[in-house]
């Protein structure tokens, strides 16, 4: 024991000391991020990381960020939060306290952002996040939290509006909902509930899906019996895959189906004909007509991403890249690397990116960028809403299974 104790102390000193003592090199702005590289959010967590990395690479290629006349390169320190909030909060403290990070990029998912925000707030560290959309985040008067994406309540609203527009009497519409039991999806639900009330629609199924879900047949059986006019589903990639697969298996007919996360779940590629007619809420699409000097157009970004990572660019990556751009812009306008000055500069952000316009309101959410709605048409994701970006007409109502193909 006598030998062991000093050994442990030595080991502890080495680990903690080693991490803490790393000095900041001149000309480098150190950003920090705890993202989900493992755990249930790992695929989207990895998209987030790739998005950050791609933006940092492009910005550094272009000579970095000019702060007060001096060029700085960007560098991100990552930790893996394992998709758990407890870990996320702990790692952010570590980024701030041990690694001396002064600017944070957000994690993936609303739950983790929720866990981290109090910490950044406490330390007065500005955080620009791209993947925490829960509206509750922006009702807590956080001063250092900025989000480039549209909030969750916006996700399926276009679908509800669309349904209301397509039907003669919206108050006769009957809606079935199945939302995952996590902060994100429950917020999506809260968002559409408000809209449905406004239209006078009636909710006939309102199920919560557990995260370990691998069978939705109970919900879909209810849908089959009650024949709603609109089915809304949100449950990250898993919920999207399941509903498409089981609607087809169980031959449940719904005139209109709207989902989140279908592009990251690749429903068109995986399920082929079964995915046709599905409406997908998305933050961004490569066919949108936004552009900026760094990446060019949305399509250019998508091409660069595909060339770099060998996969189609999901919106989770695009918005993550945009978050880095927002930071870079704020650094240049602040002219200093003082966190509070950068925070003030962030509040004044009003830029156009390949991802869309970014302008924050006083709660830190982006009020300028609308959500878009895809529809799977002939195996492709076609933007059908809002009108301004629509590439094609919506196909509605969805024919019964017996009449398809």
């Amino acid at each position: 024991m006598k030998k062991l104790v000093p050994g442990l102390i030595l080991a502890a000193a080495l680990i903690f000391g080693g991490a803490g003592a790393r000095a900041e090199e001149p000309g480098v702005i150190k950003l920090g991020a705890a993202v989900s590289l493992t755990g249930k959010y790992s695929s989207n967590g990895n998209f987030t990381r790739k998005g950050y990395d791609l933006a940092v690479k492009r910005i550094n290629e272009e000579g970095g960020v000019n702060v007060g006349g001096k060029p700085y390169l960007l560098d991100i320190t990552y930790y893996d939060d394992e998709s758990t909030p407890a870990r996320g909060a702990q790692l952010v403290e570590r980024l701030i306290q041990q690694d001396g990070v002064k600017f944070l990029l957000g994690p993936y998912s609303s739950g983790l952002t929720e866990a981290i925000a109090p910490v950044t707030e406490k330390y007065g560290i500005p955080m620009v996040e791209a993947n925490g959309a829960a509206i509750s985040l922006f009702q807590k008067n956080y001063r250092y939290l900025f989000a480039v994406l549209s909030t969750t309540d916006e996700y399926l609203r276009p679908a509800v509006d669309l349904a209301a527009a397509l039907n003669e009497d919206p108050s006769k519409l009957r809606v079935a909902m199945a939302f995952e039991n996590d902060p994100f999806s429950q917020d999506v639900r809260a968002g559409v509930m408000a809209d449905m009330e406004r239209h006078g629609m009636k909710v006939v199924v309102d199920d919560k899906l557990p995260p370990e879900l691998n069978d939705m047949s109970a919900t879909l059986t209810k849908v089959k019996a009650l024949r709603p006019d609109l089915l809304l589903v949100s449950g990250h990639d898993k919920g999207a895959s399941l509903v498409i697969r089981q609607l087809a298996d169980q031959r449940v007919n719904v005139p209109m189906l709207a989902l989140t996360h279908c592009d990251s779940a690749r429903i068109a590629e995986t399920f082929g004909a079964a995915a046709e007619y599905a409406l997908c809420a998305a933050q961004w699409a490569s066919t949108l007509k936004y552009s900026d000097p760094l990446f060019g157009s949305a399509a250019d970004y998508a091409a660069l991403y595909e060339q770099t990572y060998g996969e189609v660019a999901p919106y989770q990556a695009a918005e993550s890249s945009a978050a880095v751009q927002v930071f870079a812009d704020a650094f240049e306008r602040a002219g200093t690397l003082e966190p509070d000055a950068v925070r003030d500069a962030l509040t004044q952000t009003d830029i156009m990116t390949f991802y869309g316009p970014v302008k924050f309101d006083e709660t830190g959410k982006n009020i300028k960028k609308p959500m878009v709605l895809f529809q799977v048409q002939d195996g492709k994701y076609v933007v059908v809403y809002p009108q301004a970006f629509a590439e094609g007409e919506i196909r509605w109502p969805t024919p019964a299974w017996s009449e398809r193909r």
């Binding site: 024991m1 006598k2 104790v5 442990l8 080991a11 502890a12 680990i15 903690f16 991490a19 803490g20 590289l37 493992t38 755990g39 990552y78 930790y79 893996d80 394992e82 998709s83 758990t84 909030p85 407890a86 909060a89 702990q90 790692l91 403290e93 570590r94 306290q97 041990q98 739950g111 929720e114 866990a115 109090p118 910490v119 707030e121 406490k122 330390y123 829960a134 509750s136 807590k140 995952e180 039991n181 996590d182 902060p183 999806s185 429950q186 917020d187 919560k208 557990p210 995260p211």
Partner: protein
């Protein structure tokens, strides 16, 4: 282990607990989590090591502590510290009650059936919390912000958890020196024999679980406030992380020994930090491998290995 080195460790840990957060302010949260891990391992060992009841369900009491504090702090409209205090009182009360009720139902189950039953209890609790709107369902609950100055919050929780860990350890140490400790060991070594000798095994077992529940709920209320956000499955009823770690730490250190769980918690926590820092993305794989290696090759733990080595040296 001689008395002298016993005191050495105690003094070292006390020093770390009191001076550590001040000397190494960057590590305050790490210290707080270390004390939490020690509470986990020591309370698990009451049943797992001393009584031979391997529980995957102790984390349930931690979760009850988390939620009780969060609900009280949300609904009672009390100032922060009053709310926290009341939350801790209610949380520990509920947890002890739950331990008594669950204990009378579950502690009659023996061996691996008990282990699996408690695993089921953990998952069921997490799922129920995740479906229950009153406690935020799957969205979890955010706790109120600590009102004090910057940096004070971490110190507060670090010291509170240190106090909990110290009380827990000292209480257990005292318990193990009484006949109650012997009774626990008797149940572990041969439950039927203990019954046949007229021991009141049921109340003894339930009481042991209640003690574990008390400290777990106490640390749960504090940890929830320290983390600031509770998720039903990943923080409060985190069976796959905290719930398994407590077993692992106790086994790693040497279950059924006084210092084993503490030692196991320290080694495990430091190892975790190394993994997280250097094995980005692979740390959970490493953790899985570590579990297998510990369990397969060192089931007797560090203390057991130590005792064996000493015995061998004495024999030589």
């Amino acid at each position: 282990m001689s008395r002298l080195s016993d005191w050495h460790i105690a003094a070292l840990l006390a020093l770390t607990g009191i001076a550590g957060p001040l000397l190494l302010p960057a590590l305050v949260t790490q210290f707080a989590f270390l004390w939490l891990m020690i509470v986990f391992a020591v309370t698990w060992d009451i049943l797992g090591g001393r009584m031979g009841y391997n529980s995957f369900g102790n984390i349930v009491f931690f979760g009850i502590g988390c939620y009780a504090a969060a609900v009280i702090q949300r609904d009672m409209g009390l100032p922060y510290f009053e709310g926290l205090a009341l939350g801790l009182v209610v949380g520990t009360g509920l947890a002890v009650l739950a331990a008594a009720l669950l204990g009378s139902a579950l502690l009659g189950i023996r061996g691996h059936y008990f282990a699996i039953a408690t695993l089921g209890l953990t998952v069921a609790s997490g799922e129920i919390a995740a479906g229950w709107n009153y406690v935020g369902a799957g969205s979890g609950m955010a706790l109120p912000l600590y009102p004090g100055a910057l940096g004070e919050r971490e110190l507060f929780f670090s010291y509170s958890l240190f106090a909990v860990a110290a009380c827990c350890f000292l209480l257990c140490r005292w318990l193990y020196s009484t006949r109650f400790g012997l009774a626990l060991n008797a149940i572990r070594d041969d439950h039927d024999k203990a019954d046949a000798m007229g021991l009141r095994t049921t109340p003894i077992k339930i009481f042991a679980w209640c003690i574990a529940a008390f400290f777990l709920a106490l640390s749960g209320g504090l940890a929830a406030n320290m983390i600031g956000f509770i998720d039903p499955r990943d923080v409060a009823f985190a069976g796959a992380t905290f719930g398994v770690w407590m077993v692992l730490m106790a086994i790693l250190g040497g279950k059924g020994t006084l210092w084993g769980p503490v030692l196991g918690a320290v080694v495990f926590h430091i190892t975790q930090e190394i993994f997280w820092t250097w094995l980005l993305g692979w740390q959970r794989v490493a953790l899985g491998a570590l579990i297998v290696i510990i369990v397969v090759f060192f089931p007797q733990g560090i203390m057991g290995w130590w005792a064996e080595r000493r015995a061998r040296r004495e024999a030589a």
